[in-house]
């Protein structure tokens, strides 16, 4: 089948879902009110609450949620066949993905911009706040591990990427200096630093890492893992305007230019799918259900979006009517991005064996090869296209990694600061978070790590949907459109986490995991998976009690009115 057909179906689903289903929920069930004052307008303190135009918020939301998830997930998931992956991307987004993003922002907005911690305390139970924060901490740790693995495998597999990455970092730091210290014009800064970043991508093809460091060092995973976490260390410890923000600024342009031309290239080449529509129910990492559903992650639904929507976007929305386009609309856009990644994986290789050989080097290799092919349609040389694709892969992974390490530094200080003041030290907190991530990156096989991250991510989504269900029930509104997706996601993700964690621990018990690294990695990943399931079950139990309580209250209210 031609990939453009799938793309057009995707566009149709996005438009229909947004214009009919999302609009129905927005106007008839949640009943958004353009005259209601949002927290951003009411408080407008210039710190947390700042009303922002919806197009700006659309860009902000898209950049915040579009990480490695919608790209890596479909690249792995195609192992089951492209058809089940397409179906989950489309139907998952239509019935669950946009629902989660939209409702997370709405619940936060209607509770004066409260974040999930506060909402769970108020709506569910006091202990659920602590349980939720613990859950999120380990979920983010898995994210750091999974994304770190992607950075390392890309740096090892695509030798042009490390020099390009270094030069991008230099360009970013220079952008920070030019904007904040030297007060240069923003247009001049953008042009200069973007030119340097593009030079870096070209330079990577001229002087790849093996020509500078030699083959042994350039293939050393420890070296690139350390590089990634040193990068995150600087991002966490230095003032944000000096390092993290300006690098993100320059990276955004690299990403969007690559995406834009890549999309044009897909339409020019309009390739056919070469991999089978359906391969097998069972593959090495697990069965189609539940593993494929958690593997695709952000391409269909993601708990990360609920955190961004509630803690960030909800405090900037200037009108309730903006929630559907900003939060719901962006999820549909990300669905299309996931379809692009699926097209890359599904049209590039002539056989599953060829795909298998490529993906064993890491998803970055597949993505970079795809970007090279489609940028080639617009005139870029294959080597340059591959370097560009590898940079895009590193950018999407490292951007979120450094934010999460920064958050984990803050979380460590909050959670452990009372035990010892040492944990309040920014260097200690950062090193601790980086060390845990480093252990995961070096000891975990990347596909298992990805499945665990996906499971944790979507379990977070089901927890978010649970909170929304409780809120809707407490307000006496229809909640079926949230409750049924929540139940499905909860069962799927808990099963996936239990399956994967048991598989990992079983390999250690039976001696199938060879070597100390594999044993340590499997044990840590397995235990993290079990911990997440336990915390999610506690949250679910408290959530069900809260749901029951509000249902009874509603019944009593109805009876007393009658």
């Amino acid at each position: 089948m031609n990939s453009i057909v799938i793309l057009l179906i995707g566009f149709a689903v996005a438009i229909a879902g947004y214009r009919f289903y999302a609009k129905y929920i927005d106007t008839k069930i949640v009943k958004c009110d353009s005259k209601k004052t949002t927290p951003a307008v009411m408080y407008m303190d210039g710190v947390d609450f700042m009303p922002t135009r919806k197009n700006v918020l659309f860009g902000y939301q898209f950049k915040s949620i579009a990480g490695a998830g919608p790209i890596v997930g479909p690249i792995i998931a195609i192992q089951w066949g492209w058809l089940p992956a397409v179906l989950w991307i489309l139907l998952g987004t239509l019935f669950i993905g946009w629902v989660q993003d939209y409702s997370s922002a709405m619940i936060a907005m209607r509770h004066e911009g409260a974040s999930f911690g506060g909402l769970s305390y108020k709506l569910v139970s006091p202990r659920s706040r602590v349980v939720l924060v613990s859950f999120i901490y380990f979920y983010l740790l898995l994210m750091v591990g999974a994304f770190g693995n992607i950075v390392v495998s890309t740096a090892v597999g695509l030798k042009a990427s490390p020099p390009a990455w270094l030069i991008l970092t230099i360009a970013g730091v220079l952008a920070g200096q030019m904007i904040y210290r030297w007060k240069k014009d923003i247009l001049l800064t953008t042009v200069v630093t973007l030119a340097i970043a593009m030079f870096g991508i070209w330079f990577g093809t001229m002087a790849p890492s093996d020509s500078i460091l030699g083959t042994d060092l350039s293939n050393n995973r420890l070296l690139w893992a350390l590089a990634a976490f040193v990068f995150c260390y600087f991002a966490s410890v230095l003032p944000i305007w000096k390092f993290a923000l300006p690098i993100n600024y320059v990276s955004s342009y690299v990403m969007f230019i690559g995406l834009a031309f890549g999309i044009v290239g897909i339409f020019i080449l309009h390739p056919d799918f070469t991999l089978p529509a359906y391969a097998n129910f069972m593959i090495p990492i697990g069965p189609l259900w539940p593993i494929m559903f958690v593997t695709i992650a952000c391409g269909a639904i993601s708990g990360w979006h609920s955190i961004v929507s509630s803690s960030g976007t909800a405090r900037q929305l200037e009108n309730e009517m903006d929630v559907r386009p900003v939060c719901g609309g962006v999820m549909f856009a990300e669905m299309v991005l996931a379809l692009f990644a699926l097209i890359i994986a599904g049209t590039l290789y002539s056989s599953p064996a060829e795909y298998g050989a490529a993906v064993s080097k890491g998803p970055g290799a597949v993505f970079a090869a795809g970007v090279a092919k489609f940028l080639g349609a617009v005139g870029l040389s294959p080597a340059l296209g591959k370097s560009y694709g590898s940079m895009m892969m590193i950018i999407v992974a490292i951007t979120l990694m450094q934010l999460v390490v920064r958050f984990m530094r803050v979380a460590t200080a909050e959670l452990l600061g009372d035990i010892s003041p040492l944990f309040r030290n920014i260097h200690v907190g950062t090193v601790l978070a980086s060390l845990m991530g480093l252990i995961l990156v070096l000891t975990g096989w990347w596909q298992y790590l990805w499945v665990l991250f996906g499971g944790a991510n979507q379990l977070m989504a089901s927890v978010a949907l649970l909170l929304v269900s409780v809120w809707l029930t407490s307000e006496g509104k229809k909640a079926g459109w949230v409750i049924y997706p929540m139940i499905f996601m909860f069962i799927t993700t808990v099963t996936a986490l239990l399956y994967t964690s048991y598989d990992l621990i079983h390999k250690v018990w039976t001696g199938a995991a060879k070597g100390t690294e594999a044993m340590i990695g499997n044990t840590i990943m397995g235990c993290a998976g079990f911990f997440l399931v336990v915390t999610a079950v506690i949250l679910a139990m408290d959530g069900v009690k809260a749901l029951h309580k509000y249902r009874l209250l509603n019944l009593q209210a109805t009876e007393s009115h009658a």
Partner: protein
């Protein structure tokens, strides 16, 4: 006349679409930085108000006698400042 109105509408739509793309790019690339700069400025202002007017929240850092002269300048910000100081903080705010 109708044709002129149609042309003007088309111009508005084109300009509107261009403006939307501009805002989208700004939101994706620069909005975070702008937000952070505003947050930093506001945090410093609120810290200054806490030091000078902390007495309002029961935190007597400076005797009010010395800071009363500043009162007319900070009055517009007092309600915002109080709300931010007394608002319940959550760990998730670090991800905002």
């Amino acid at each position: 006349m109708t044709e002129k109105i149609k042309e003007q509408d088309l111009e508005k739509k084109k300009f509107g679409a261009f403006q939307a793309v501009k805002e989208f790019l700004y939101g994706a690339a620069a909005h975070d930085s702008a937000r952070y700069a505003l947050k930093t400025r506001a945090s410093m202002e609120h810290l200054f108000i806490l030091i000078t007017m902390g007495d309002m929240l029961g935190v007597p850092i400076l005797p009010p006698y010395y800071s009363l002269r500043l009162l007319p300048y900070v009055v517009p910000q007092i309600s915002t400042w109080k709300r931010r100081m007394l608002r319940e903080k959550d760990l998730m705010d670090a991800l905002a």
